[in-house]
Amino acid sequence: MSLVARHLEANGLPTVIMGCARDIVEHCGVPRFLFSDFPLGNSAGRPFDVESQRLTLELALRVLESAPAARTTVQSPLRWREDASWKLDFSNLDRLTPEEIAEKRREFDAVKEVIKTKPGRS
């Protein structure tokens, strides 16, 4: 998505990304970025919380209209929950049993097989 934003912007279209993976988007380098410190899958706000979705969109629109230069990141003030322990779980093998790790490996190999069947894709 960051590569797409860069391409659009380089060709004259102002862009803003709403996202939850701060390091990945900033590593690529994009013009404007509204970051929500939420689990991946909630770039546009909390589930069944229209107010949080409105605020998230409003912040993104403000970033779009007022960013002074490229690589502008604004972080939403919203928190997923007060207890931040959810952040320790994502792709963290220290938190899985050997059986769960073996299952993850089987799952990943299966995904690779599915993707291999699509021509010209990696």
């Binding site: 912007e9 102002p14 993104a60 093998l93």
Partner: protein
């Protein structure tokens, strides 16, 4: 003065993912796109006169390729490989089972958390935003920088121009 816990920072996804696959036994780590510069185009007109395009990584529901519902396991068969477009006046049936969202801490039950079309319509109605383009667009997530840069991004640009977009909101799921 009390500071928050050390782990209460944005998740370092790149490091976490590298460590994860290394520990699973795959030693050819993914290389994320990296640039030191970034392009910038100033807004041409106020937001209230701006026609906005929406780009999503969500996938249209595809019957017959397995569970794509809330909480479904990662479903690579549900991926899509070419740019698609659909009407912004519709309520499209979009799913995110084909990407690595946080399956432990969110459920993907409310599409408005990754596809803000309903909120965008409200912003237009309120006069905050000029208009939406007649179509939104779907951007494939295939982990090939070459395909994204050489095929998908130019096609998305073409469609945004065709719809006379003034600016673009991109929402990865």
């Amino acid at each position: 003065m009390t500071f928050v816990a050390d782990h209460d920072v944005p998740i370092p996804y790149m490091q976490r993912t590298r460590d994860y696959y290394l520990k699973l036994g795959y030693d050819n780590p993914y290389r994320w796109a990296y640039f030191t510069d970034a392009p910038f185009t100033p807004m041409a007109r106020p937001l209230a006169e701006t026609r906005l395009a929406l780009i999503t990584t969500a996938a249209p529901y595809q019957p017959g390729v397995g569970d794509q519902g809330p909480g479904a396991r990662y479903n690579a068969a549900a991926k899509f490989y070419t740019v698609y477009s659909d009407s912004t006046d519709s309520v499209p049936d979009l799913r995110i089972s084909h990407v690595g969202y946080d399956r432990k801490h969110t459920t993907a039950e409310d599409p408005n958390t990754w596809f803000p079309l309903a909120r965008l319509h409200e912003a237009v109605k309120a006069g905050r935003l000029g208009a939406l383009t007649p179509r939104f667009h779907g951007s494939p997530t295939n982990r090939s920088h070459r395909v994204t840069t050489e095929t998908d991004a130019p096609e998305l640009l073409r469609r945004c121009r065709e719809d006379a977009a003034d600016a673009v909101l991109l929402v990865p799921s």
